[in-house]
Symmetry: C2
Subunit: 248 residues, 2 copies
Amino acid sequence: MVTVLKLGGSVITEKEHPEILATERVDQIADRLQSSMTERLILILGGGSFGHPAADRHGLSVELGTHDARAIADVHGAMLRLVDHVIERFVEREIPAVAFHPMSMGVRDGDTLTLSHDGVQAAFEEGFIPTLHGDGIVTVDDGVTILSGDTLVADLAHQFDADRVGLCSRVPGVLDEEGKVIDRIEHFSSVSSVVGESDATDVTGGMAGKVETLLDLGIPASVFDLDSLGDFLEGAQPGTTIDGSRVN
Amino acid sequence: MVTVLKLGGSVITEKEHPEILATERVDQIADRLQSSMTERLILILGGGSFGHPAADRHGLSVELGTHDARAIADVHGAMLRLVDHVIERFVEREIPAVAFHPMSMGVRDGDTLTLSHDGVQAAFEEGFIPTLHGDGIVTVDDGVTILSGDTLVADLAHQFDADRVGLCSRVPGVLDEEGKVIDRIEHFSSVSSVVGESDATDVTGGMAGKVETLLDLGIPASVFDLDSLGDFLEGAQPGTTIDGSRVN
């Protein structure tokens, strides 16, 4: 049983305050992970108020790259600080998280992302919890572009043949016009009118991008909030289930 | 023309003071690099007073591994801080250095190190200076062991078919019994009596290990100090030339 779990940037950081970790929420996550350590788990961290403002400041996105090493150092450096903070709090509680930095793992050429997973795979087999994060990625002819946590979720879920995929978000699921959690999404067209942009700086697509990426996964994915993380880790499908597998 | 240049930990850090960057020397290196920006360059940072004390504290070496995520986070985190500091000072001077973290690039199994170089290669082709560093490396059945900067020099020089290899050290070369620089070394046996342990904490082999690694390279490598870095970058072979190619 392999689980890929993304911890949204809005959950683990104070999204309105640059480079401030949401320490209380990160500790809550650590508590939930501690209670379910039998899972084989891969973690992906979103950028939140670490990576996104830096990317925004330099005009970087998944499509717009840079050859400016200053800009790359700012974005990558911010994400290193985030993963360092999170890992610090996790290992304090004996959660065997080990950081992997996607920009070091490969390259993007057009729409094709090629990451080497040897280190992550070996870490997984040694009993660690590989912990990746949104990052820059060297992109042929474009310098460095942004590699979003959501794209990493899809890449890792595919590579490790994941049984379960979860996105722990600030909202309890994908919400309809009345603010109620949509139970299940199988087509993007059924929700395109309600999944707008996310409200804070997000260079990587917001909820619309998440839904599209998750519909393409081939397995059901759950979008839920921190209150439901325990349930998800124990096998439930809280929040919104996004499942494009019947359509694709 | 591809040059692999290792910046020794004793040059870029205050080796007797934990996690203190040798800012003046790092800025001198930046000046030299700025004057020779036509080279295609790959940089490797040694651990110095960042990685080595952490590794030592946890009993980690190139042979002794750990499954303790706390220890891994300490060693890897220290090296992230070092590369972050160095890159900061380099990009300030418009040296297009981009960090790559070896633990994310692969795995070791016994004596076999397998790193994926796709990102480094692409960065190189985009005009960046890939900047790697001594790090941990996931090692089959041993958790995480230490991957030394010297081993990385050999790996990268081989992978990128380097024309030139340099180790910028605190000493002006490999020294004989009288403290004079040995001009040329072709066999380990000729210097085994004089290359002892290095004097500060060094989990990765000291000068003896460097000489052995460099003799195996297949191309000549130069060991020199900061005063000769400019000469090396301009094509000279200052300090000690280590060349095992006639023997191997």
